[in-house]
C-alpha cells in the first residue's frame, strides 16, 4: 500500500472562523491526503498531542483572529520538543505580510493568506513534505 500524506488541520486559540480551515481540509482530501480535523479552539498542547498520536506529516494551522504571532511559534516549539523533527508546519488565514518573515524564522515553513488558490497549498505540501 502506498503511503498517504497525513495532515492535521488545526484551529488554535479562541478564533471561531472555521470556513477557511474547512475549505482547505476539503481541498486536501480531494488531493488524496488524509486530513485529521479536530475542530475549533485547540490549545497548542492539544494540537501537539493530536499530531503525535496521528503521526501526521503536516500540521496546518488556520488563524484569522490575529493571535498567530504567539500561537504559531508556540506550536512549532512544542512539536519539535516532542521529537517530531520532520513534521512540516504551515499556517494560513488573515495574517499581515509584515508578520510572515518572523513566522518563517520561528519555523513555520509557509503562510497562506486570503485569496490563496488551494492548488498552491497542495503543491507546496507535495514539494516539501518529508
Amino acid at each position: 500500500m502506498e503511503k498517504r500524506i497525513r495532515v492535521l488541520v488545526a484551529k488554535p486559540g479562541l478564533d471561531g472562523h472555521d470556513r477557511g480551515a474547512k475549505v482547505v481540509a476539503r481541498a486536501l482530501r480531494d488531493a488524496g491526503f488524509e486530513v485529521i480535523y479536530t475542530g475549533l479552539r485547540q490549545t497548542p498542547e492539544q494540537i501537539t498531542e493530536a499530531a503525535l498520536q496521528e503521526d501526521v506529516n503536516v500540521v496546518a494551522m488556520s488563524l484569522l483572529s490575529g493571535a498567530h504571532n504567539t500561537l504559531f511559534p508556540k506550536v512549532v516549539k512544542m512539536i519539535r520538543d516532542k521529537g517530531m523533527k520532520d513534521t512540516l508546519i504551515i499556517g494560513g488565514g488573515v495574517i499581515p505580510d509584515a508578520d510572515i518573515p518572523g513566522l518563517k524564522d520561528a519555523g513555520v515553513s509557509a503562510v497562506f493568506t486570503p485569496g490563496t488558490p488551494t492548488g498552491s497549498i497542495i503543491d507546496f505540501i507535495k514539494t516539501n513534505v518529508k
Binding site: 500500500m1 502506498e2 503511503k3 498517504r4 481540509a25 476539503r26 486536501l28 482530501r29 480531494d30 488531493a31 488524496g32 491526503f33 488524509e34 486530513v35 485529521i36 480535523y37 479536530t38 475542530g39 485547540q42 498542547e45 492539544q46 498531542e49 493530536a50 503525535l52 498520536q53 496521528e54 503521526d55 516532542k82 521529537g83 517530531m84
Partner: protein, 312 residues
C-alpha cells in the same frame, strides 16, 4: 531508534510510528508485528458500530472517560471512509474526543478505510494489536457506520455495541440488514428525540424472535451521549457482557475463532503474493491467459497444474 523497545517502554511517539509503519506496509512492519505479538491478547476490545451521525464518537468519548475514572488505560481506533475517487479522507472523529487528547492514559488514532469495504481498514486489527502490546486495557474500535457488509467488527471485537437512533425512518430496514446478529449490546442514542421508546419496543420484539443468541439476550440501553445520560448504565451492561464472555467460555471461543481467521487471512495473503509474483515475473501468467483465449486449456486445468507444481 528501536521502535519496539521504546513502544514497550511507554513511548507514545514510538506507538504512533509503529502504527504508521504497519498501515503503510513499511519494510520494518512485519518485524514490528512479530516482536509485539507475544505482548498481545490482554486488552478487551469493544466495537462501536452504527449509522453515520448516530453518536458513535460522542459515545466513545463518554465511555472512555468513565473507564479512565476506574483507572483503566484506553486505546481508540476511529475509522472513517476514504474517498474512492481521490483516495483522500477527512477523519473527523477526534472533534468529539478533544477532552481526551491531553490524558496520557488515552491514545486515539484515526484511520481511513483505504479501499476496504467491511467497515474497518485492512490494518485496523494490527493497530489494535499494537495498542494492546502498548498496554492499553480497553480498546475501542469505531467503525465507519453500518453498511451492507459491516461484519468485520464482529471478528475484531470481543464486545460489539450497536448504536441506533430513533427517527431515521429506516429502523426496521437497518435491523433487517444484519445488525441484529452483530450486536452484543444495543444503545439507542439520541434518546432525547421522539421515537426512542418505539424503536426499543421494535428492537425488543426482533431480539426475542432471534434464537441464535439464546445464552445472551443482547440488552438495550438508552443514552443521550451529548449530555452524558445513560452512560453509567451502558458501561454496566458492557461489563455484564464482559463477565458473561468469561464465565461462559465464549471469550475463549471468540478469541480462538479470531486467531484462526487471522492466520487463514495471512496464509492466503502470502500464498497469493508468492504465487502471483512467480507466475507474473516468469511470464507464465501471460502464457496462461493466451492459452485460455485460444481455448487450448480451461482455467480449472491450469489451476490444478499450478497447484501441483507449487506443492511439489
Amino acid at each position: 531508534m528501536d521502535i519496539v523497545a521504546e513502544l514497550l517502554a511507554g513511548s507514545r511517539l514510538a506507538l504512533s510510528r509503529a502504527i504508521t509503519a504497519v498501515e503503510n506496509e513499511y519494510e520494518n512492519a512485519t518485524a514490528i508485528m512479530q516482536k509485539l505479538y507475544p505482548h498481545t491478547g490482554r486488552a478487551h476490545v469493544i466495537g462501536i458500530t452504527g449509522p453515520p451521525g448516530a453518536g458513535k464518537s460522542t459515545l466513545t468519548d463518554k465511555l472512555a472517560k468513565i473507564y479512565r475514572r476506574q483507572g483503566k488505560t484506553i486505546g481508540i481506533v476511529a475509522v472513517d471512509p476514504t474517498s474512492p475517487f481521490s483516495g483522500g479522507a477527512i477523519l473527523g472523529d477526534r472533534i468529539r474526543m478533544n477532552e481526551l487528547t491531553l490524558d496520557e492514559g488515552v491514545f486515539i488514532r484515526s484511520m481511513g478505510t483505504r479501499g476496504s469495504l467491511g467497515g474497518l481498514s485492512r490494518k485496523t486489527a494490527d493497530a489494535v494489536k499494537i495498542m494492546d502490546a502498548a498496554g492499553k486495557d480497553i480498546i475501542f474500535i469505531e467503525t465507519v457506520g453500518v453498511g451492507q457488509s459491516e461484519v468485520d467488527i464482529v471478528k475484531a471485537a470481543d464486545t460489539t455495541v450497536v448504536v441506533l437512533v430513533p427517527g431515521l425512518g429506516d429502523d426496521i430496514q437497518a435491523i433487517k440488514a444484519g445488525i441484529l446478529e452483530i450486536g452484543d449490546v444495543f444503545a439507542i442514542n439520541k434518546a432525547d428525540r421522539e421515537g426512542a421508546e418505539r424503536l426499543k419496543a421494535e428492537l425488543d420484539m426482533m431480539l426475542d424472535l432471534d434464537q441464535v443468541k439464546a445464552e445472551w439476550r443482547p440488552p438495550i440501553n438508552q443514552t443521550v451521549a451529548s449530555q452524558g445520560t445513560g452512560i453509567e448504565e451502558l458501561i454496566a451492561t458492557i461489563d455484564g457482557h464482559i463477565d458473561y464472555l468469561a464465565a461462559s467460555g465464549e471469550l475463549a471461543r471468540r478469541r480462538t475463532a479470531r486467531t484462526r481467521s487471522e492466520l487463514i487471512a495471512l496464509i492466503e495473503e502470502h500464498i497469493n503474493r508468492h504465487v502471483l509474483k512467480q507466475i507474473s515475473s516468469s511470464g507464465q501468467l501471460d502464457e496462461m491467459v493466451a492459452s485460455l483465449e485460444k481455448r487450448q486449456e480451461d482455467p480449472y486445468a491450469i489451476v490444478t497444474r499450478l497447484l501441483a507444481a507449487f506443492l511439489r
